[in-house]
């Protein structure tokens, strides 16, 4: 399956390399600020990978993904503070609960198509946010929920950024593996058929709704675990981080990374998180006394420029560039003999360019 631009074995090689890199990275980054950025990249990756499955493979947009993240965070937070539940158990309960919520809203939601689906998910996100704000007795209202315990297991407490870094990335990589398996399974093929043409898929006997809901439940559970980890990492939550703004940011991460591969989600999450931190350090050096205002302006411009130059996202975009570069090199070597052969992927790319000329 060449759809991502990279094959199955390349996926596992990349994964192996990633595990080695992530495992040894703390040797270079002893500083807790850097570890903390990496930890948030891990959390964002969990969110983005789930949404990538939903948008990239099942072709269903969601403008309310932050809601699942918030449900996970609040369920964990409430269970561990008000009910003194074991945090690990609470993470599990939260994930199951979020999965159930996703299933219950997924059934009617996927009757909607196109923009209506976008509005449906957006509305769901806003309703959940309002519940966080208004149900003070449970959630602490807008002031938030304090005193959420740190995680610990068998006397081993996750009390610093290094420990959280390993925990979060172990789970994020697990989700990546799971997602790769889903993509390369029967479900994955069915999903791609939905993305191609839902009507055609249905004609061929694919129960599209069933698969869409399954993916929604998986994505929601990823987000829930991410939310629980966020809550235990910060030990404080309020409704603000789970608003519509974050839902949009997750969509941006997924699209900027590239919808066609779960690797794109990782890349997108990493890029947006690192970019805003880098700007924070770099901008004041260029404009003396400049703070936030200039950072968001430059962030917006970079976002536009990336999308203009790499419309298919960073991942597929770079794969395309590397391939065409390799092809150039190869064709130089082979000189005369095989000039006529054009790789199928480039035809697709050209064809794509011609479609929407607006």
């Amino acid at each position: 399956m060449e759809r991502n631009g990279i094959g199955k074995y390349e996926n596992y090689i990349t994964l192996g390399a990633l595990i080695v890199v992530m495992g040894s990275l703390p040797l270079l980054l002893s500083n807790s600020y850097h570890l903390s950025i990496m930890a948030f990249i891990g959390i964002n990756t969990m969110l983005a990978v789930g949404l990538c499955l939903l948008m990239g493979y099942a072709g269903q947009v969601s403008l309310g993904h932050a809601a699942f993240y918030g449900i996970g965070a609040y369920t964990s937070g409430i269970l561990t503070t008000t009910f003194k539940m074991n945090p690990w158990l609470a993470i599990g309960v939260a994930a199951v609960f979020t999965g159930v919520v996703a299933y219950v809203i997924g059934v009617p939601m996927f009757r909607l198509k196109g923009n209506n689906l976008a509005m449906g998910t957006l509305g769901f996100g806003i309703i959940v946010y309002i519940i966080f704000v208004e149900m003070r007795d449970w959630t602490g209202g807008p002031s938030g929920l304090t005193g959420i315990p740190s995680l610990s297991i068998f006397g081993f407490t996750f009390d610093n950024d290094l420990k959280y870094y390993y925990l979060i990335w172990a789970i994020a990589l697990l989700f990546l593996v799971l997602s790769l398996n889903i993509v390369n399974s029967r479900v994955g093929r069915a999903l791609r058929s939905i993305h191609g043409s839902e009507i055609a898929a249905e004609t061929l006997g694919v129960n599209t709704n069933k698969y869409k809901i399954q993916i929604l439940v998986v994505a929601a559970m990823y987000a829930s675990v991410a939310g629980s980890l966020y809550a235990h990492y910060l030990t404080f939550i309020n409704p603000q981080p789970f608003s519509f703004k974050l839902s949009i940011e997750i969509v941006v991460m997924v699209v900027i990374g590239g919808l066609s591969s779960v690797w794109g989600a990782l890349l997108g999450a990493a890029t947006t998180t690192v970019l805003s931190e880098v700007l924070r350090g770099v901008i004041p050096q260029f404009l003396k006394g400049a703070t936030g205002e200039y950072e968001i302006v430059v962030f917006g411009i970079i976002l536009m420029v990336v999308m203009i130059f790499l419309p298919e996202g960073l991942f597929s975009g770079s794969v395309r560039i590397v391939k065409s570069w390799r092809r150039e090199k190869e064709s130089k070597q082979r000189t005369v003999d095989e000039t006529a052969i054009v790789e199928p992927s480039s035809v697709v790319a050209e064809g794509h360019l011609a479609v929407e000329d607006k």
Partner: protein, 429 residues
């Protein structure tokens, strides 16, 4: 493809020019007073009352240039962008102004001060990252801010683990009192807690004989905290909340909520929010012909409220720090001198209508730390102890006396009732 490159380049160029142009514009209010600047800064050495914040000894005894010694690095977090920007920007301005003033007058014990300011984007996650950057990379001695309660609570765990003193510029009492009633060792704050402000308001309402209160609040941490305190204090003062409504900070019309409140026929209406929503409520109340007096919160402590609420602002009474009515204070008031000096410095640098109590909180954060640094030297633990032992420090918000049991250090002298009369703040009768 060439087309694409061409346009993207032009995009970058146009926007870069735009930024520069706008940067010039935005800077415009600041450069105006440049000629008078040396004068302003000379006087700026905050003519201190008894707990003189500025290192006048350092400045006078040795005229050693500040730059010769290792600088003291202090971190500052402000919500420069996002929904908290009307708080964050005056705070950021104040930090920048004070850094300049202190360094001009010889620094702290001869050490220049460097304030590293980071934007939190009004976002908890960004605030945590910015805090870690300040601690790990900038190696700051203490952190001032952040602007919002949620951000302060989100970073409390980080500063506690890293053992860095934090002096928050946010309101909620939860910042300096843990759930179990204990006091977080490393966290302080300078703004008056809502408990203190609400107490003053409740007393005022009671003396005026308003018993039935219609309550409207914004549905964020600010409004929530005010509501909680009011519900706690009102019954004991014999006040009865006859209607309780909320609105979102971004709502553009509160007529529906006010109609409900009006239907409950209260003696007075209290609005707990910040502009623009606070101003829209006042305007809507006038439009609906509501005759009852409208009280607001200290969230309207800047000119923006008056300028956008127009005639509806007239007669609005609200509890606030003394900064807004500094002129009218008796000369015996300990704070008067400091308040007038800050007003003069800030408005000279940033324009006539830019003064706000939020910048005042930042002033307090900065000077509490600077003052403590003088005694403790560059050591985080000693600095924390010095802050905790700060007594009778005359600030903008009030006179601070911290202790192991009180990390806010203010009493009810820090709040006064202010009335808006013909575009001016006057003490309410």
């Amino acid at each position: 493809m060439r087309n694409r490159i061409w346009f993207a380049t032009s995009l970058a160029v146009v926007l870069a020019l735009l930024i520069l142009a706008l940067g010039g514009c935005a800077g415009a209010p600041a450069p105006t007073p440049t000629p008078s600047k040396p004068v302003a800064t000379a006087a700026a050495t905050p003519a201190p009352a008894k707990a003189s914040p500025v290192a006048s000894p350092a400045a006078s005894s040795k005229t050693e240039p500040a730059a010769s010694k290792e600088p003291y690095k202090i971190g500052a977090l402000a919500a420069v962008t996002g929904p908290g920007s009307s708080l964050g920007i005056p705070e950021r301005n104040t930090y920048q102004m004070l850094e300049e003033q202190v360094n001009k007058s010889g620094g702290i014990n001869g050490h220049p001060v460097q304030v590293v300011i980071r934007d939190t984007e009004s976002d908890e996650t960004k605030a945590v990252l910015a805090t870690k950057k300040l601690i790990e990379e900038d190696k700051v001695l203490a952190i001032l801010g952040p602007s919002l309660s949620g951000e302060s609570l989100a970073i409390a765990d980080t500063v506690t683990k890293a053992e860095v003193p934090l002096i928050s510029a946010a309101a909620s009492i939860m910042i300096v009192v843990n759930k179990d009633g204990s006091i977080p060792k490393w966290v302080f704050k300078t703004p008056q807690s809502d408990a203190l402000i609400v107490k003053t308001l409740v007393d005022h309402l009671k003396t005026k004989g308003y018993n039935k209160i219609g309550w409207l609040s914004v549905s964020n941490a600010y409004g929530d905290s005010g509501t909680t305190e009011f519900q706690k204090l009102a019954p004991s003062a014999g006040l009865n909340i006859v209607a309780k409504e909320t609105f979102a900070a971004t709502d553009t019309d509160m007529t529906a909520q006010l109609t409900r409140v009006k239907g409950a026929n209260p003696d007075a209406i209290v609005v707990w929010s910040i502009p623009p929503s606070a101003a829209i409520v006042s305007k809507n109340a006038a439009q609906l012909g509501i005759k009852q007096p409208v009280f607001q919160s200290h969230g309207i402590g800047n000119k923006a409220f008056m300028s956008v609420a127009g005639p509806a602002a007239n007669g609005v009474v609200f509890p606030a720090g003394k900064l807004l009515v500094a002129d009218a204070l008796p000369d015996s008031d300990a704070q008067k001198k400091v308040l007038l000096q800050y007003t003069k410095d800030y408005t000279a640098k940033f324009g006539a209508d830019t003064l706000s109590t939020f910048g005042g909180h930042a002033w307090d954060c900065f000077w509490v730390v600077a003052d403590a640094l003088k005694k403790s030297g560059p050591d985080r633990a000693k600095l924390r102890d010095a802050i905790e032992n700060t007594k009778d420090f005359v600030g903008i918000t009030g006179v601070f006396s911290f202790s192991a049991k009180d990390h806010n250090g203010l009493d009810n002298r820090a709040v006064t009732m202010v009335e808006i009369k013909d575009g001016k703040w006057v003490p309410a009768k």
